[in-house]
Amino acid sequence: MAVRVQEADFDLGTEVARLTSGNTSIGALVTFTGLVRDLGGADAISALELEHYPAMTAAALERIEAEACARWALQESLIIHRYGRLEPGAQIMMVATAAPHRGDAFAAAEFLMDFLKSRAPFWKKEHGADGARWVDARESDEAALNRWT
């Protein structure tokens, strides 16, 4: 169970190796990595800027993680979320969940992602040729929370 909020990049392989190292009771490990997506053409972006609320962010992520650990039999979990200015293709964040069985690991990872999307205090600004614009929250992301109630 760990949460990290950082400007620096992370290495998925290293993080996962650390999570499972020495624990032979893990049967299933799920990871999600979010990347800066550049659609090119008229929507081409040169950078994604991530602003957050430092005093609140870690606590919000820890609460989301604790909720996942209360719902599923997780042996390990990890949330890393970056902030600052990121290039297209850069890693934005990752979650990892480890459990005896795959169902729990998948469900917990999806749960973490659904809550991170709408309940973690981050805001994204896309920089493109025509200037910059704040990314709107998607209604589908808010709706995705309902499946966990």
Binding site: G34, Y53, M93, L116, F122, W123, V135
Partner: protein
């Protein structure tokens, strides 16, 4: 009380945080006070459906009481992940 602004609310107001002396009983009262101050605040809070609030770093509603509160933050819907 410290008041924080994030994302386009920060940009519209032109500040990321400020100290505010207020007797506002609720978040809604505080918003009304701020809007009355200057047009940039009025503009930032013109569509409260697009504004989220945290009181002492916990998500809260516009009716949240401000008694004893040290920090209020205003921001658009979050876009993490």
């Amino acid at each position: 009380m410290r008041v924080l602004y994030f994302a386009w609310i920060r940009e519209r107001i032109g500040l990321s945080q400020e100290e505010v002396s207020s007797d506002a009983a609720t978040v809604a009262d505080l918003v009304a006070e701020l809007r009355a101050r200057e047009e940039r605040y009025d503009l930032a809070f013109s569509d409260m459906a697009s504004v989220r609030v945290a009181v002492d770093q916990e998500l809260a509603g516009l009716d949240a009481p401000l008694d004893g509160v040290r920090e209020v933050a205003f921001f658009p819907p979050m876009t993490g992940g």
